[in-house]
């Protein structure tokens, strides 16, 4: 008897099962409506002075993403002091020392207080690579600083 009614519900209900798809977005709802992301991977932050500009570099504690083009990319955010945002003309990030300003690396863009840069990471890392930060000011000055890439890389290696 009980078995029969179960079968009855299954027979009628099985065609409505695709409604379960509506559950897929549910876990993402709260995150979507908060101004700051709630579920974020842990962040690695490092303070560094680039000439006259103290900045904070931040990245998620995650391995670099593999792009469809085959490159490995890592996203960094560069927090700049509010007093400096109108003095900084450009922020460039590169793995390895740039030979010139023309090859300074990825140009950071977006929110002037918290610019972001997508940095290409070599496939093979020896462990001694450095992340170079090049900052240009509006009067034409160029400032550079670096830190070991291992300190601000994240993910399992």
């Amino acid at each position: 008897m009980r078995n029969d009614s179960m079968r009855h519900y299954w027979q009628r209900g099985k065609f409505h099962l695709s409604a379960l798809m509506m559950l897929v977005p549910l876990p993402f709802l709260p995150d979507y409506f908060s101004p700051k992301p709630i579920f974020v991977p842990p962040e690695i932050r490092r303070d560094i002075a680039v000439g006259p500009f103290p900045v904070t570099l931040a990245t998620y504690d995650e391995a670099p993403a593999r792009m469809p083009t085959g490159e490995r990319m890592k996203e960094y955010r560069i927090h700049i002091r509010p007093a400096d945002i109108d003095r900084v003309r450009g922020v460039f990030l590169r793995v390895g020392k740039p030979r010139s300003l023309r090859t300074a690396g990825a140009l950071a863009f977006g929110n002037p207080y918290e610019r972001e840069a997508d940095v290409t990471v070599p496939d093979e890392l020896g462990g001694r690579e450095e992340l170079w930060v090049t900052m240009e000011d509006w009067s034409g000055g160029v400032h550079q600083a670096s830190l070991p890439l291992g300190e601000i890389f994240g993910g399992k290696r």
């Binding site: 099962l17 977005p25 929110n111 207080y113």
Partner: protein
């Protein structure tokens, strides 16, 4: 039963089984898509800050930017967008804490009528409809629905012979049993939405192909390098010069005299041009993008339109416009909304009919096959 009739019956089973196991998901996607078409209009009704009367002389863009930035301490405007004379101008701002805020500025008085933070309702509905907020898995789940959709359209046309009669003799028997009424409604609504279902399924199929191409690493950028300013074109000064947005807009206007202004994007870095997006009115589906040097207000390049776009870019723009109905202002949107509702009804009525009829038809068909098999076995056993 004649051969023709049983073949129709087989097509009919195909028509029924294509969408039925997925009906609830398909219904959800159709409904959210229908809402997405008019999501801006819904917010316009809900949020008085988004409204403007359209009467009076509009202020220059620089005044709107100044007003927006004064309303949110530390905010820096990154773009302005004009939604039409009945809408306030939206100014998107970067905030010191890394978030963004939108200010709704009255284009005539310059009053900031409201601030909204985080994702808009429009972006939410779009994410829910397009990828279940789960990218890219959800994108594939949703776009794969294009296949049963095309299948339902084709099999529906085969099953419903003389469907064109529904164009000049639509018949819905409202007073009959619900099964009869839903059946009539399904046929009439289906016939009237043939074009719409075709448009939606073809564009959805494109969204599927587009994402597959992207994940396979096949070039989709159209092969064009972004426009950037050379280092020696950028002025040297103690602090960042603010671009003269009024001069930028005037140059764009001079380059495209009959344009309808839609969007101004301020440079994202010191090396980026300012971008003015406009509809020139010549090709309604394809907006023009005017890249302007923010320091000298010289036009660098006009992109978009018919001749400048690469094939894949052109396809992307047209497919998106056709899917969303966002290319001819409110009248087109309302047509898309109405047919979206009709399509949602089709999914629902299809399910009701199925529950009442196809279950039985399938049982009969299976029984018929078994009986046929038994008869075929008969003589050899005898």
């Amino acid at each position: 039963m004649s051969v023709g009739k049983s073949r129709t019956r087989l097509w009919f089973l195909w028509h029924s089984w294509l969408a039925m196991p997925l009906w609830a998901f398909l219904f959800f996607v159709c409904l959210t898509g229908t809402v997405a078409v008019v999501s801006t209009e819904i917010m316009w009704l809900v949020n008085p800050a988004m409204r403007a009367s359209g009467a009076g002389e509009p202020l220059p863009a620089s005044a709107l930017i100044a007003a927006a930035e004064a309303a949110a301490p530390g905010g820096r405007v990154s773009s302005l967008s004009w939604g039409g004379s009945h809408m306030a101008v939206s100014a998107r701002m970067s905030m010191p804490d890394g978030t963004s805020t939108t200010a709704w500025v009255n284009p005539v008085s310059g009053a900031v009528q409201g601030l909204s933070t985080g994702n808009s309702f429009q972006a939410f509905v779009r994410a829910l409809h397009g990828w279940l907020m789960t990218f890219p898995v959800g994108w594939y789940l949703v776009t794969l629905l294009a296949i049963p959709l095309v299948g339902s359209l084709v099999t529906g046309l085969v099953v419903y012979k003389r469907f064109w009669k529904s164009f000049y003799q639509p018949r819905i028997r409202w007073r009959q049993a619900p099964r009869v009424m839903w059946g009539d409604l399904h046929r009439v609504a289906g016939t009237w939405s043939i074009w719409f279902i075709a448009v939606i399924s073809v564009t959805s199929l494109w969204f599927l192909i587009y994402m597959m191409l992207f994940h396979l690493g096949m070039g989709l950028g159209g092969g064009k390098a972004p426009v950037l300013l050379a280092r020696d074109q950028i002025p040297v000064s103690a602090t960042a010069p603010r671009p003269d947005v009024d001069a930028v807009l005037a140059s764009a206007q001079a380059a495209l005299p009959d344009m309808r202004l839609r969007y101004l994007s301020l440079p994202g870095t010191a090396y980026d041009p300012a971008t003015v997006a406009a509809s020139s009115g010549q090709v309604p589906l394809l907006p023009d993008y005017v890249r302007v040097n923010p320091f000298t207000a010289e036009v660098i390049l006009i992109e978009g339109g018919m001749e400048a776009a690469s094939g894949i870019e052109l396809t992307r723009t047209i497919m998106r416009a056709l899917h969303t109905g966002d290319f001819g202002g409110l009248p087109v949107k309302l047509v898309w909304f109405a047919f979206g509702l009709l399509m949602t009804t089709l999914v629902f009525s299809g399910m009701l009919i199925w529950m009442k009829r196809t279950a039985r038809a399938t049982v009969e068909a299976v029984r018929g096959v078994r009986r046929g098999a038994r008869l075929a076995e008969g003589p050899s056993n005898a």
